[in-house]
């Protein structure tokens, strides 16, 4: 076992035929942060959804393996898989405004799953929730537990979601664009919080984002996706110093940076797109689709 999450040749298709993920493979080791980068439609969120079993109904997994903590999730029955995921993985979602149930108080939204799914006592679950809210630096945790989501700010809600994700000491956390909806100043605080929590708990973290800047701040390794295919997998330092794939280079040079105002901002050129499209076609031909 080289990691807590091992994905091998994962293929996902629309039920109507088109391929969404093309033989994706990746590893995330305990204590490591792996970034998934790509433009919209590249399928980066679909990897997380496939792992957590929350793919939209129009999509289905047609091949590959997903090993989580030594168990191949795809070999389990639907109910067992759900329980397994509930016990070992957690999600930090994108939009803190819709990720908390508006009709329930904060406390139960953190504690219910500990009680219902993991069989904790109510006291233990509540103590744990308080401890975590403290850990994510929420003042007045006891009062926040009794609040409804609409009474809290966006940044607060994202902190609560982070606390909730770490509640059951999961082996793997998937963060799906967790700061896209936030202002940059809040984004910075939240990213640092996620990084701190991840390091302290030694969790494996799969970090989905479209923002190369964010990736460079939180990840150890990353995969670049295009049309559901991993075009480059690299360690962080190496990627930003010497990106290998022409599409990766194109993405980097299309990202504006205030430190480099005179550097030319080059859109992803048609040649690069043709090159990577050809690669995808070649892959499909080889895979026989």
């Amino acid at each position: 076992m080289s990691g807590y999450l091992i994905i091998r040749n994962l293929t996902v298709r629309l039920r109507s035929g088109p391929v969404i993920l093309r033989s994706v493979s990746l590893n995330v080791a305990a204590g490591q942060v792996h970034g998934l980068v790509g433009e919209s439609g590249a399928g980066k969120s679909m990897i997380g959804k496939a792992v957590l079993g929350t793919l939209p109904r129009a999509l289905q997994i047609t091949g590959g393996e997903i090993w989580l903590d030594g168990v191949d999730l795809l070999s389990l029955s639907a109910a067992e898989r759900r329980r397994r995921i509930g016990a070992t993985a957690a999600l930090i979602p994108q939009d803190p405004l819709t990720a908390l149930n508006p009709s329930k108080r904060i406390g139960p939204q953190i504690t219910r799953r500990l009680i219902d799914i993991l069989g904790w006592t109510k006291q233990a679950a509540e103590a744990r929730a308080l401890e975590l809210l403290d850990e994510v630096q929420i003042p007045n945790a006891a009062r926040v537990m009794r609040s409804y989501p609409h009474e809290l700010s966006g940044g607060m809600r994202q902190r609560i979601l982070i606390a909730s994700a770490f509640a059951a000491e999961p082996k793997l956390i998937i963060a799906d664009e967790p700061t896209t909806a936030l202002d940059v100043t809040v984004q910075k605080q939240i990213l640092r919080l996620i990084a701190q929590m991840q390091a302290r708990h030694g969790t494996a973290l799969l970090f989905v984002t479209h923002d190369l800047g964010v990736v460079s701040k939180v990840c150890d390794t990353l995969s670049v996706l295009y049309a559901g295919k991993v075009v480059e997998e690299a360690r962080m330092q190496r990627f930003f110093m010497r990106p290998i794939h022409s599409y990766s280079r194109a993405l980097l040079s299309a990202t504006p940076s205030y430190e480099d105002p005179l550097g030319s901002l080059t859109p992803v050129s048609d040649t690069v797109i043709e090159e990577v499209e050809a690669e995808v076609r070649w892959h499909d031909a080889r895979a026989g689709t």
Binding site: L14, S16, P56, R57, A58, L59
Partner: protein
Amino acid sequence: MRDARGDIRRPIGLRLWLSGGWLTLLALGALFTPWIAPKDPLMQDLFLGRMPPFWVQGAEPGYLLGTDSLGRDVLSRILYGTRLALIVALVAGTLTCVIGATLGLIAGYYRGWPDRIISRFVDIWMAFPPVLFAILLIAVLGPGLISIIIAIVVIDWTRFARVIRAEAMTQGAMDYVASAQVAGRTRFGTMLTEILPNVLPTIVALLTLEMGIAVIVEAILSFVNLSISTDSPTWGGMIAEGRTSVHQAWWVLVFPLITLFLTVLSFSQLGEGLKDRFDPVLR
């Protein structure tokens, strides 16, 4: 995700064909009634009372769908009733639509005091039971075709006003309305060129729905004996008569009821089908 689900498209062809086909058939029947109708719809023959339709034992040849208690031909009466039903549907439906949609558009787009006044009236109207209101109006206006049309317009304009108002409010908040303003279009111009085309599919769907409702209201009024006059055959009148003798002669109720049922269903399905067709985003 939306896109992924978007390819599950409802079949819209069939229901447009079926509903359109039935309504065309009705329209043709209404146009050529005097030539098609096998009998005089008012001719009574007490010796031929309550004859069953042709496939039942004891049917009288020439009376395809049987006769009512006064010996009048059910088929001919349905055909003559069709004329009236379609006139009411077209005229009352269109008038209601024009008045209600205009008020709704103004209230929803202009907001402010026009909205306050129109909405207050809608509120008051919503506090009336519509059927009772219609009956009351016919009692006041006296029976007759014009009265029925007026009654339908008066009770039902709110349906358009409410829906179109909400729709216009949603569209009015869109940026393309602001962009028309940036381009220098007048408020009235924006309403006609930007808002109206976007609420038109809803108006069309409501219009055909309203036509079906107009037919029903006419039938209800005939049912409580307040429609055109007791002589002219109407679906509602036939249903009212059929209801009283349902145990002795089911066909007097069943045939006009089936006609009414299919007509109302067709009108509403036609509207839904057209709405889908109209929408470039769905097409």
